[in-house]
Each structure stands twice: as structure tokens, then as C-alpha cells.
């Protein structure tokens, strides 16, 4: 039987460390391209201020990058430390993109980050620009491979269960790599990072304009951020819609939960713009429906059916019954490998084996499960509806706001009136936390919405844990909270200090005689 305390604590620890890691990574993703753009302008125009912009934003990039690296190692450790059975069960498939990420992406970004900072005097202009570009490419390739791995958790294609080794094994790596979920997730996630990077530059520059400092520096930075941000914000919303479409294909429950759609509607389904999902009554009160919209987004058609939560629970019940046959056949095969009847039973039902594993959280032996146990297990596939409902709406609201804000910024930049309106600058400044909020909510929708599955339809999260004690996990969790809080304080303190010093205070622009601003 699974120790539920270990499951809860391990999940909490994973969520906290992933959400924390995800505070830093998106900024790295976006800011690295902004650095490359600024430096490209420097190389093309030869104007010193663009080099200095690259260097100043580069210092802030470095402070953030260190945290991204530090908290990223945790993630690689944690699959093994806390999710050992998961690692065994899917390592054959899931490990490969992680290893490729190391070889193809981490080496690239980690090798060139050093030269980015230490290579200004040692490299020609063009070579340094190449280094910066490779750095940006490395960070983005890393997002690609980790999202291929993640997409496989959402949509486990190209793999099959092997009875001899008791795990999932790759049948087609190309299918894993070209998983449609991976593609939509990648573009959506990196666009979100670009939007965050753009907002970061835009907001800090707005603060300089409000203070009347670094005017030329800030205006140029804002122009870059506004154009880059507008393209990114458009892409994050449009491609987020693509992401929604791929979810509707393979994670119908996640979509139904996001929509708090309890009953299957007659197509095309309506979109619930607002409402109050009530889990106890399995109803959504005060719902305001926009007709047709959901059906069109979710199925790209007028007659595609989007199943509601109740229907999906019923279907899960049937798959659990089918999975139990596979589970029983597996036990018979373990006793006698040559049992032909058991082999054919197993092969006929193995696609539902994961559903039988849902019973393991309810009863010790799935073979002994009663009808009520099956019902309990089937209902356990409903994720937390209100959390998904609200997280999704807040995220989308932020996304639409970003489009408007960046579009207005872009218009101001093209009219050269960025510093004309104080209210605008203040609005930009106070919008700084919003991309972070949207990004964390996006993680919650994607990953909390995947529950109770670690691998959709294949492995329930609860079964993936390590055989460690609850006390050990509690200890490491507390350690993370203390350690990460301390680091967050240090990171925030340094970031604020360097922003306040600014290009002028650091001697970056206007150029000071002693250039050692950052170290003196």
C-alpha cells in the first residue's frame, strides 16, 4: 500500500521547487534573446550605447541565471530522490530527452555564459555576438527538450509496457520527439518567457524614465522590449489556443475541468466566461455562457463533441474494469510465463493497465476491489476544478492585457512618445509581476490539471513515489523552504540593488573612466 503522506509531501515538494525554478527560467529564455537583439544592433550600427545596454541587462541576466541553474539541478535530482518508481517505470522513455537536453542545450548555454561575461575584451564584435546567440539558443533548446519530456507525460505516445521489465519502453523515438503536444507546449512556453523578458526590460526602463535617469538608455531598451513583447504576447495567446486544442484531443478531463463542464453539451459547446464551480454539488453556479466558442476552440468544428466530467468518469470506470483484467493477467503471467490465455488477456487489455493502477490508492489488491472501490477510483480522475477554472481565466486575462499593453507601448515607441505619459510609465512599472503570475498559473493548469496522473492514463502520481519515509521528505521539504527563501531574499536584494544603481551608477553608461563598477 502506498504511504499517502509520502505522496502528499513529495508532490508538495515537487510543486514548490518547480514553481520556484519557473520564476527564473522564463526570464532567462526571454532576456537572452533581448541581449542578442541589442548586441546585434551594436554590431550592425557600431553605436557604443547598444553594447553598454547588452552589458547592463547582461548583469541582471547573470543574477537571474545563477538562480535558474541552482534551482534546475534540484529538478533533475528530484525524479530520482522522490519519484524513484516513476524513474524506473518511464526512465526508458523520459530519460532520453533529459539526457539530450544536457548534451545539446545545457552544454551550449553553460559553456557560453562564461564567455558572454568574460569575453568582451577577448573576442571580436561578431564572435561575441555569436557567443550571445549561442547562449540564447542553448537556453531555448533546453526548453524544447524538457517540454518534449513533459509532453510525453501529458500524451504518452510512442511507448509500450514491457511485462518482462515492468516498465514503459520506447517503440518509436520519432513519435516521442514529434509529439504534437510537445510542439504546442514549446512555442507557448517560450513565448511566455519572451513576454516576461520583454516586460522585465520595459518595466525597469519605465522606472528610469519616471526617475529621469538613463533616458536614452531606457528609451532604446523600451523600444526593443515593446516590439519583442508585442510579438511574444500575440504568440503566447494564439499558440496557447493551439495548446488548448491539443489538450482537447488527449486530455479531455483537463479541458472539462478548466471549463467546469460537468455535463456533455450539445455541440458546439459554449464557453463559460464566468461562474462559480461547486465541487460538492458538481455544478457551476451563476455561469455566464458564450455560445459556440468552446466547441470551436476545442474541436475546430461545429459538430465535435466535448465530453463533460460525468461522462468522463463513467468512461474511466469502464477502463478500470478493463484494466483489472490486464492486471490479473499480469499476476498470472508472473507465476507462469507460458500461460497463453493470460498473455492474450493481457495484450487485449494492457492499454487500460494504468487505470487499474488507480485502484491501488483505494485498495491494496486491485483484484479484490468492489464496485464502490471502482467508483471511487473513477471519480479520482477529476482534478481540482475550481483551481483550474480560476487559474486558467486569470492566465488568459493576463495574456490579453499583455497584448494591449505591448501594443500601446509599441505605438508610443513608434511615435517616440514613450516618456510623455507618467500614468503609462507607472502602469508598466506595476505590471512587472503579472507575467510571473500568468506563468505560474500556466504551470498549475498544465501540471496540477494532469492529476491524478503522473503519466496520463499510464501511471498514477501516487504510485510513482520513492520508498522513503514521510519524515525524510518532510525534512527535505522544510530544508527547501528555508534555503529557497533565503536565496530568494538574496536574489531580490541584489536585483534591486543593481537596478537602483543602474547603468549610470555602475559606470556602464555614460562610460566611466574606471569600468569596474560591478566589483567595486
Amino acid at each position: 500500500m502506498i504511504d499517502n503522506d509520502v505522496v502528499t509531501l513529495s508532490r508538495l515538494q515537487f510543486a514548490l521547487t518547480a514553481l520556484y525554478h519557473f520564476l527564473f527560467v522564463p526570464l532567462t529564455l526571454g532576456l537572452s534573446w533581448i541581449l542578442a537583439i541589442m548586441e546585434a544592433v551594436y554590431v550592425m550600427t557600431g553605436r557604443e550605447i547598444w553594447k553598454r545596454m547588452t552589458q547592463f541587462w547582461g548583469v541582471l541576466f547573470g543574477i537571474n541565471f545563477a538562480m535558474g541553474v541552482a534551482t534546475g539541478v534540484t529538478m533533475e535530482f528530484q525524479f530520482g530522490t522522490n519519484w524513484a518508481y516513476y524513474s524506473h517505470y518511464v526512465g526508458d522513455v523520459f530519460g532520453t530527452p533529459l539526457a539530450i537536453e544536457g548534451l545539446m542545450a545545457f552544454f551550449l548555454e553553460a559553456t557560453f555564459i562564461g564567455l558572454f561575461f568574460f569575453g568582451w575584451d577577448r573576442l571580436s564584435k561578431v564572435k561575441h555576438l555569436i557567443v550571445t546567440t549561442l547562449l540564447a539558443l542553448g537556453t531555448n533548446l533546453s526548453a524544447l527538450w524538457i517540454l518534449i519530456a513533459n509532453a510525453w507525460m501529458q500524451n504518452p505516445v510512442g511507448a509500450e509496457f514491457n511485462l518482462d521489465t515492468m516498465r514503459m519502453e520506447v517503440t518509436s523515438f520519432a513519435t516521442v520527439m514529434f509529439n504534437p503536444v510537445a510542439q504546442s507546449k514549446f512555442v507557448h512556453t517560450v513565448s511566455a518567457g519572451y513576454t516576461l523578458g520583454a516586460m522585465f526590460v520595459l518595466s525597469i526602463s519605465a522606472w528610469y524614465l519616471l526617475k529621469g535617469r538613463n533616458i536614452e538608455f531606457a528609451k532604446r531598451s523600451m523600444t526593443v522590449a515593446a516590439s519583442f513583447g508585442l510579438a511574444s504576447a500575440l504568440s503566447v495567446v494564439v499558440l496557447g489556443d493551439e495548446s488548448g486544442y491539443t489538450v482537447s484531443e488527449n486530455q479531455k478531463m483537463k479541458l472539462a475541468a478548466i471549463e467546469a463542464m460537468w455535463e456533455t453539451e450539445k455541440p458546439p459547446a459554449s464557453f463559460t466566461a464566468f461562474g462559480w464551480p461547486d465541487v460538492a454539488e458538481r455544478k457551476t453556479h451563476f455561469a455566464i455562457h458564450v455560445p459556440w466558442v468552446m466547441g470551436i476552440i476545442g474541436t475546430r468544428s461545429l459538430d465535435g463533441v466535448l465530453p463533460g466530467i460525468h461522462q468522463l468518469v463513467d468512461e474511466a470506470g469502464q477502463r478500470i474494469e478493463s484494466g483489472r483484467i490486464a492486471y490479473a493477467a499480469m499476476l498470472r503471467l508472473r507465476a507462469d510465463r507460458n500461460d497463453a490465455q493470460a498473455r492474450s488477456d493481457f495484450d487485449a487489455h494492457k492499454k487500460d493497465l494504468g487505470y487499474a493502477l488507480l485502484l491501488r490508492k483505494v485498495v491494496a489488491d486491485p483484484a479484490q476491489a468492489s464496485a464502490a472501490d471502482v467508483q471511487t477510483a473513477a471519480s479520482s480522475i477529476i482534478p481540482n476544478v475550481p483551481v483550474l477554472f480560476w487559474s486558467f481565466r486569470l492566465m488568459v486575462g493576463c495574456g490579453l492585457y499583455f497584448i494591449a499593453l505591448f501594443a500601446y507601448s509599441f505605438w508610443l515607441a513608434s511615435k517616440r512618445r514613450l516618456d510623455a505619459q507618467r500614468w503609462y510609465l507607472k502602469l508598466v512599472l506595476y505590471s512587472l509581476p503579472l507575467p510571473w503570475l500568468a506563468i505560474e498559473l500556466g504551470w498549475i493548469v498544465a501540471e496540477y490539471g494532469r492529476q491524478p496522473w503522473a503519466i496520463e492514463g499510464v501511471l498514477p502520481t501516487a504510485l510513482g513515489v520513492s520508498s522513503v519515509s514521510a519524515g525524510q521528505v518532510l525534512f527535505s521539504l522544510c530544508g527547501f523552504v528555508v534555503f529557497y527563501t533565503a536565496l530568494a531574499v538574496v536574489d531580490f536584494f541584489l536585483m534591486r540593488k543593481y537596478v537602483r544603481r543602474g547603468p549610470d551608477g555602475l559606470g556602464i553608461w555614460p562610460e566611466a573612466n574606471t569600468a569596474a563598477g560591478a566589483v567595486s
Binding site: G62, I63, F65, A66, M67, A70, V73, T74, F77, F79, G80, T81, A84, Y85, S87, H88, G91, D92, V93, F94, G95, T96, L98, A99, I100, E101, G102, L103, M104, F106, F107, A110, T111, F112, G114, L115, F117, F118, W120, D121, R122, L123, N162, T165, E169, V170, T171, F173, S466, S467, V468, L487, V490, D491, K497, Y498, A515, A516, A518, V519
Partner: protein, 376 residues
């Protein structure tokens, strides 16, 4: 397609290559961090020492990340059991890995001496702790780890953190410390301002001497003291990866592999000869050659341990039949094949651009040097 048995052997060798890459590349920056307060007597000296590794440590660390990812992909059983079975040790290691980036990144950001001193201590710990843990972990491989697998391949591990600290494991921990302090000090001797070279050379010399003594001592313990493990059922190199299909007993010594494959002896010979070479080159003030020698010490030491354990990757003291070996702990044939292609394509590219970066950064880091850039 290459047959399964050969693929497993190749992946066992690749694992060795990655560990050696990690020990050589990340080893010297661990060593520098651990010796920061010993080699650097004031802030200027420490900044010079740090700058010898600041532009490159991040890339070096990827050798560890890659080794972890490759073990996950190619040896998932090993990944799962090593990380969950050594839970508290892994978190200690992780704490060091979290401190390193912020330590390197933030130390020079403020001039306050208390700030810098605090980060110097953090960096020292972040260098020393991983060296010790890796050494202790290697020692425990020879002793066997207390885990067992059930029919579902769920692993349970007995024993806590302090059970890892047996005398033999502490001995291997000290070997690891001596080896990488010598390596780090040799690096400092050729890379840091020339005024620090002599001090670094002295540290390298002492560390190499300690290494020689302890390495021979560990060899003696393995030859005369510790029992080895052996597979007593027929071996099928191409069987599915299920560790429970074989029988293992504790018998003989860990030197059985050396008796069967005399070629293996080149590894311990390399470790010893290279350590002597390091001493000679330090005495001759040929510091770069000393660094190459200490790199070969890392290679020889890791190979000699891997050869002694072969075909075991991770023996189990609790249930020897659950032991993980080269023949039954790998991924599927398809995954090993794909990963091999990926390594063959990308590792040379990585080595090429890493080489280029080191060439760009060649030359000693002088006191003059640290005054002239923005820092990191």
C-alpha cells in the same frame, strides 16, 4: 543495429567516460572552491583564484548533469536506487550544487567584507561536500547498498545517512578529497597569477602524497579485507533488464575482474604513475604538465574502481540477487541505440566548442586582470 550485449558494454564505458569527464572538468573547480581560503589569503588573491574558474565552472558542471541524465536514460534502475536510496546524502549534495552558482555569481557583486567572507565559506563547503560525498558513495558501492526489489520492481532501501559513513567509505571519501585537492591546486598553479603558483604547488604536492598512501591502502583493504560479489547463475547479456532473474552471492574479493582481465591492471597503474608524475612535475615547476598528470589520476582512479566492480554497477547487501549489473539494469536496446547515436553526434561538438572556449581564455589570470571587467 548493434546487439544488446555490446550496447550495454558500450554504455558501461560511456558511463565511465562521463564520470571521468566530470571528475576532471568539474573536479578542478571543486578543488579550487574547497581550497579558496587556503590558497587565497586575501580578497585580491581569492578573486584571482575564482576568476580562473568563473568563466568555465558552469560548463564543467554540465558533465555532472549529463552523467545524471545519461544514467536516467541508460541505467534507470541505477538512477532510481542511487538517488532515492541515498536520500539524505543526495540532498546534502544538492545543497552544495545550489550554493555553487549563487556563490560564484553573487560573491563579487558587493564589496562588503562580511558578504564576501560568507560566500567564501559557502564556496568552500560547496566544493568540499560534493568531493566527500562522491568518494563516500563510491566506497559504499564496494560494500553494497541495502536495497531490494520486489516483483513490481519497486525498490525499498534500508539504512540511514550515518550508515554510509563506514571506515572504508570514509577512506574512499578521503581519497576523493586528496585526488581533487591535488587536481584543483595543480590547476591554480598554472592558471592563477604566478605569485600563487608556489603555494598551490605545495598544496598539490601534499595532496598527491596523501592520495598515493590512501589509494594503496584502499587497494590492500580490497585485496585482503572486503568480500566481493559474484553472479553464480548463467549470464545472458541480451536478456530483458530484470535484476531479479539472476543469483548473486558474496564470495571472493573484488579483484576477480582483474584476474579474469589482466588488461584491467592498466587502470590502477595509471592512477599511481600519474600521481607520481604530478609530484615530479610540481617539483620541476611544470604546472600545466602537473595538471595533465592529476587529470590522469582522476581517470585511472575511476577506471580502477569501475573495473573492480565489473559487471556490477550497484551491488545490494540486503538482497544480493537484487544487485544491479551491466547485464540487467539498462534501458531497452532501442533506447541505448538512440542514445548512442546522440552521444556520437553531439559529444564531439561539445568537446570542440569547449576546447575553443578554453583557448580563448588561455593564459594566467593576473591581479591586473581582475581590475578590468564588469564581473559576473
Amino acid at each position: 543495429m548493434i546487439d544488446y550485449e555490446s550496447l550495454r558494454l558500450v554504455w558501461w564505458l560511456i558511463l565511465g567516460v562521463l564520470l571521468i569527464g566530470f571528475a576532471i572538468m568539474d573536479g578542478f573547480d571543486f578543488g579550487i572552491a574547497a581550497l579558496l581560503r587556503v590558497l587565497g589569503r586575501n580578497d585580491e588573491e581569492r578573486r584571482v583564484l575564482l576568476e580562473t574558474v568563473e568563466p568555465v565552472w558552469e560548463g564543467n558542471q554540465v558533465w555532472f548533469i549529463l552523467a545524471g541524465g545519461a544514467v536516467f536514460a541508460a541505467w534507470p534502475f541505477v538512477y532510481a536506487i542511487a538517488f532515492s536510496g541515498l536520500y539524505p546524502a543526495m540532498f546534502l549534495l544538492l545543497a552544495a550544487f545550489i550554493l555553487r552558482p549563487v556563490g560564484f555569481g553573487y560573491r563579487n557583486k558587493l564589496a562588503d567584507p562580511r558578504w564576501r567572507s560568507a560566500w567564501d565559506w559557502a564556496l568552500t563547503a560547496s566544493g568540499l561536500v560534493p568531493i566527500l560525498i562522491f568518494g563516500v558513495a563510491f566506497g559504499n558501492l564496494f560494500l553494497g547498498l541495502p536495497f531490494r526489489l520486489d516483483a513490481e520492481m519497486r525498490m525499498t532501501c534500508a539504512g540511514g545517512f550515518f550508515d554510509l559513513l563506514t571506515p572504508f567509505a570514509l577512506l574512499t571519501g578521503l581519497i576523493s578529497i586528496a585526488m581533487l585537492l591535488a587536481h584543483g591546486a595543480s590547476y591554480a598553479a598554472f592558471k592563477a597569477d604566478v605569485s600563487l603558483a608556489e603555494r598551490a604547488g605545495k598544496v598539490a604536492r601534499s595532496a598527491s602524497l596523501v592520495f598515493l598512501v590512501l589509494y594503496l591502502l584502499a587497494g590492500a583493504v580490497l585485496a585482503f579485507g572486503l568480500p566481493g560479489y559474484a553472479i553464480v547463475s548463467p549470464i545472458h547479456g541480451d536478456a530483458p533488464s530484470n535484476p531479479l532473474l539472476k543469483q548473486v552471492v558474496m564470495q571472493g574479493r573484488w579483484f576477480a575482474g582483474y584476474a579474469a582481465h589482466p588488461l584491467f591492471w592498466f587502470a590502477p597503474a595509471l592512477a599511481l604513475a600519474a600521481a607520481v608524475g604530478n609530484l615530479v612535475m610540481i617539483a620541476a615547476k611544470k604546472y600545466f604538465a602537473a595538471f595533465l598528470a592529476s587529470s590522469l589520476v582522476c581517470a585511472g582512479t575511476i577506471l580502477s574502481a569501475g573495473f573492480a566492480l565489473f559487471p556490477f554497477l550497484m551491488p545490494s547487501s540486503l538482497d544480493p540477487n537484487s544487485s544491479l549489473t551491466v547485464w540487467d539494469a539498462s534501458s531497452s536496446q532501442r533506447t541505448l541505440g538512440i542514445m548512442l547515436v546522440v552521444v556520437i553526434v553531439f559529444l564531439p561538438i561539445v568537446l570542440a566548442y569547449t576546447g575553443w572556449v578554453y583557448r580563448v581564455l588561455r593564459g594566467r589570470v593576473t591581479f591586473e586582470h581582475i581590475k578590468h571587467h564588469l564581473g559576473y
